[in-house]
Assembly symmetry: C2
Amino acid sequence: MSLKHAILTLLETEEGSGYDLLKRFKARLGFFWNASHQQIYSQLKTMHQDGLIDCTLEKQQGKPDRKVYHMTQTGHDTLVEWLENPVKVDKINDALLVKLYAGHLIDKDKLRQELNEHTAIHQRMLETFLNLEQEYLNLPAHEKKPFELPYLTLRRGILGEKAWLAWAEEVAQYLENSIH
Amino acid sequence: MSLKHAILTLLETEEGSGYDLLKRFKARLGFFWNASHQQIYSQLKTMHQDGLIDCTLEKQQGKPDRKVYHMTQTGHDTLVEWLENPVKVDKINDALLVKLYAGHLIDKDKLRQELNEHTAIHQRMLETFLNLEQEYLNLPAHEKKPFELPYLTLRRGILGEKAWLAWAEEVAQYLENSIH
DNA sequence: TTCACATATGCAACTATTTGCATATAAGAG
DNA sequence: CTCTTATATGCAAATAGTTGCATATGTGAA
């Protein structure tokens, strides 16, 4: 499991509550790791029980209390051990491709419409990534250092989305020609 | 769930045993949907119970008996209904990227080595896809028709792998420069 | 004043996937 | 003669992820 390790990675740099981690997930790991709030909260609970992280309660006025989690030595060791052992190649399970494969069973218009909707989403993601890239590229050289590795993960997002969109263009072309 | 629908897609064209479907998965849907034999067998059992498929027993000499599954009307209807309703955009959970994000915590050599191993796997996949593409492209025009949609799914594999490898090249460059 | 959104947490039930085990035969390689 | 690969099926336990529900407050918009 890697949700655990993703959380440890985030806590390694900075402590935080479940809610913090949820937001950090979306902002930093969101384009290559997805987790819902339920998953994060329950994972934090287990990790706390297992001694990978500990927890202090912060009272707040106006807002609910925050449980702030931080790394323990065990947590750090667990993370390092995971980092040093190989991980599997990412597994793809893409329902849209199953659909396309079976596309002879549906109306081409419906297929085209769904492809357009997915394309719009991917375009929006690409834009977000390109904006983040600009932010990074505009940093003065010495401020870039700590973000070099995160930037490389962002590049994965950019190249991945561009490839997706190029593919969608091919499919759109095909669907266009096949009606006339 | 889409494993169900992927199986229905395969059975729509041709009946088959769990073992057949396993092989067809690898050959046809393997680059965008992955399923283990345990998953397929247990899924078939559930689908049979739910009346989406039915089953006849084929005795064989020398080899174990085969349970041959085929589509029912309910199964067909279920597939068509799924096809006509939108699916979600594919969710990515890529452990290698988590690792890269936390790469400051590990030895660059180890990181480079793991990247190389993943690169080798992706290169092999790309080669496989390109070979399949050649097979398709060498078909006479009239035999291409039934494979047009599967070919588009193959293109996704090709473009996706090429993008992965281009990205890996960027990462390799970075890791190369950061030691010297 | 109501509605949506952000803050902040979590349980319970279900669905999906992985990992390890289990069985049995045949064919071919070393 | 043993080892690997292919054929053919499956159970059980654990882990991972989704969906629906639940609670409580503050802020800003319509």
